[in-house]
């Protein structure tokens, strides 16, 4: 037992429990829906989940530092529109440049959030509640509430969604999920092995201790927000590629889905614990639910109710599992080494 506990830290355990829940969900729907276990279903879900996952990774970074970013939806929308406009004007543009541009714009907006939170000392929820509205307003002004039409875009971006990076049989890894997966892997390792990542955990875990340990929290927090913005920007590019038509409403309401995904994935909104892997699993879980509910052809009007129910159940199950496991999983007593007792004082 001890050995297992040494090898499998609590975080992995959480993720395993999520995988378990996911499997259960899939099995349940598998029995309900005929020809459910098809590559198609997989490809569907993977491409749907890509956007949420990508942004959820960024959100995780912010959540780890005991903050939250509600402006992701607006950042996705703004970037998507800006890129669309730009592409409709300029003839050819390499994907890399566009991606860089996307992350640049998103990063800039994220930077503003970060500076306001870290150096303006304003609680993140206040800042991002504000910038959510401000960035959306900026989009409306900039676009003059016109929209970008698919026909204005160069073919390569429109074909991006059906690009296939890797094929195992019928199961395809499409470009957009590929991007998301890439982000997940990169940030998984950054968070696990880089001192930057560890310090993000430290800050969220105990700000005052971090301060005394000489960690410059403001810089870290700003960086986290900037990265979150950059990933949202990339999300904007994904959004553009996926939907082609971009209105001023693009990405509205995304923030709550993303937070939901991250939290279902076991990322603590009180900071300090959680992984991008978990966030991705959370996104997949929700995505699977949505797609499956669409497939179930249950009464249109029942979908929302079922969705809400599923989320709360998923979270509760996870919570119970963890509460049961944590105590005996990571518990340690101070053990004195054998030594002669000193009675006299």
């Amino acid at each position: 037992m001890r050995r297992v506990r040494r090898l499998v830290p609590l975080q992995r355990l959480r993720e395993l429990s999520l995988v378990l829940i996911l499997i259960i969900v899939i099995v349940i729907f598998g029995n309900q829906i005929d020809n459910y276990y098809t590559p198609r279903t997989f490809n569907r879900i993977s491409s749907t989940v890509a956007l949420i996952t990508l942004v959820a990774v960024g959100q995780t970074l912010v959540l780890l530092t005991r903050n939250v970013d509600l402006s992701v939806g607006s950042m996705v929308g703004f970037t998507a529109y800006y890129l669309g406009r730009h592409l409709s004007k300029t003839e050819d543009m390499s994907p890399m440049v566009l991606a860089a541009m996307a992350m640049g714009i998103g990063g800039a907006m994220g930077l503003i959030n970060g500076l306001l939170v870290a150096y303006g000392r304003i609680p993140a929820i206040v800042v991002t509640l504000g910038t959510m509205a401000i960035y959306r307003g900026a989009l409306v002004r900039y676009s003059d509430s016109k929209s970008v039409a698919t026909r204005e875009l160069p073919p390569w971006i429109k074909d991006l969604p059906q690009e296939t990076l890797y094929k195992f049989g019928e199961y395809e890894l499409r470009a957009l999920p590929g991007i998301a997966l890439g982000a997940v892997i990169i940030f998984f390792f950054i968070l696990l092995y880089s001192s930057f990542g560890r310090r993000l955990y430290a800050i969220g875990s105990s700000p005052e201790a971090a301060h005394l340990a000489g960690i410059h929290a403001p810089r870290m927090v700003t960086l986290a927000f900037t990265l979150c913005g950059a990933l949202s920007g990339l999300g904007g590019m994904v959004y553009l590629a996926r939907f082609g038509t971009i209105t001023v409403e693009a990405g509205r309401g995304l923030e709550l889905q993303v937070v939901a995904a991250a939290v279902v994935g076991g990322v603590s909104i009180t900071g300090g614990s959680g992984t991008v892997l978990g966030a991705m699993l959370g996104a997949i879980l929700i995505g699977t639910l949505e797609q499956s509910l669409i497939r179930m052809q249950i009464n249109e009007f029942w979908k929302d109710a079922v969705m809400g129910l599923c989320i709360i159940v998923a979270v509760s199950v996870d919570r119970i599992l963890i509460n049961q496991l944590t105590p005996w999983w990571s518990r340690t007593e101070l053990q004195r080494m054998p030594e002669e007792p000193h009675a006299e004082v």
Binding site: N35, T247, E300
Partner: protein
């Protein structure tokens, strides 16, 4: 000689003029014409911001505004989707406070706007609805883009064109489950499929809702494809839905197998027609709708015309129209704009080249 000729000519002219007068006297009264140069503040209030069709309507209204040399302002304002109905109410109330002369509403709800629109009418503000109406007691009249039953038949015919005589399975991807327009149209279509044998082979398998949100519509479209292996056509009576569905088919490389049709904006649909994801779709010109709406409101607000059944008037470049009873709404008045424009590969190029607005279909054709 000369003299006589001259007299003759005179007589002829007189006779002609007389006869002309007589002729006129017999047929309908002179269509009412608008008197330019009035000073009216008018509000154009579409359902929401961020939907291309309403921008086009705005253009149309501005065009009319130019023509009529209105001294006052043309205010274009709309709520955000997450605040659609209360937002429209707020804007109406604000307009009442500002004592504007006319409000032109594309209503987000059939009843919920009533209290405020009635309030507006009490302060004798002209209330004209377009695109989607409110209950008759809350408006002067409704500018109907096309006959609602006609939308159903047009969709049915497009389905027939695409699926052919042997027919096949098709599904409807609508806007929100509670969008009154779409529901009316879908009902009309269902009714037609029921009673008319020409459509016997068209099998409507499902109606799903994309909430006029590209993301949802996209997923719902794919959901349909997965749920119905034999599906051949997705019919989307909403511009957001049809574009999203077409994009989805394109991304999944299903364009050959599953056709997408419905009501779409040429500007958004052009490329999908070109790459064969959508053979054919229909829409009326929102630009004209805005233009006509403005004209009617102007006429009513200047008291040049009253909202009464049978009144005929002239709406600038669009010619003459007559106010008629609205068959779909008990005691409601409407001006039926029409006609539908069908778009397909042939006429879209012309359209893109700025040519005429597609091949017009006459309502009468559909009736029988």
């Amino acid at each position: 000689m000369k003299m006589r000729k001259l007299q003759l000519l005179l007589v002829v002219v007189v006779l002609l003029t007389l006869s002309a007068g007589l002729v006129r006297a017999q047929d309908d009264p002179e269509p009412i014409k608008a008197e330019p140069g009035a000073d009216l503040d008018m509000v154009l209030l579409p359902k929401t911001l961020g939907n291309a069709v309403f921008d086009e309507a705005h253009e149309g209204a501005m065009e009319a505004d130019e023509e009529l040399e209105n001294e006052g302002d043309l205010i274009f304002n709309a709520p955000t989707p997450d605040n659609a109905i209360p937002g429209q109410i707020e804007i109406i109330e604000a307009s009442i406070t500002q004592e504007v002369d006319a409000i032109m509403i594309s209503a987000n709800d059939y009843e919920q706007l009533l209290p405020s629109t009635q309030k507006a009418m009490d302060d004798d503000i002209t209330v004209v609805t377009w695109d989607s109406p409110v209950a008759p007691e809350g408006e002067d009249l409704f500018i109907a883009q096309v006959d609602f039953t006609e939308v159903g038949s047009v969709m049915a015919n497009m389905a027939l064109d695409i699926l052919g005589e042997e027919g096949g399975q098709f599904a409807i991807l609508s806007a929100t489950p509670d969008a009154s327009n779409q529901n009316a149209w879908i009902e009309a279509m269902k009714a037609l499929l029921e009673e008319d044998d020409t459509y016997a082979n068209l099998e409507l398998v499902d109606v799903v809702y994309g909430n006029d949100d590209p993301d949802d519509s996209y997923n719902e479209a794919l959901g349909l494809v997965d749920s119905y292996p034999d599906l051949e056509l997705i019919m989307a009576p909403t511009t957001v839905g049809i574009a999203a569905a077409a994009k989805a088919m394109q991304d999944e490389e299903l364009c050959g197998e599953i056709a997408v049709s419905g009501l779409g904006l040429p500007s958004e649909m052009q490329e999908f027609v070109e790459n064969g994801c959508s053979q054919e779709f229909a829409l009326w010109s929102f630009k004209d709708l805005g233009y006509l709406t403005y004209y009617v409101s102007y006429l009513l607000a200047t008291d040049a015309m009253d909202a009464e059944e049978g009144v005929t008037f002239e709406a600038g470049r669009m010619g003459t129209y007559t106010i008629e009873a609205d068959p779909n709404r008990e005691g409601g008045l409407r001006v039926l704009m029409g006609p539908f424009s069908l778009y397909n590969a042939d006429n879209l190029e012309e359209w893109a080249a700025g040519g005429d607005e597609g091949a017009t279909v006459e309502a009468t054709e559909e009736a029988n």
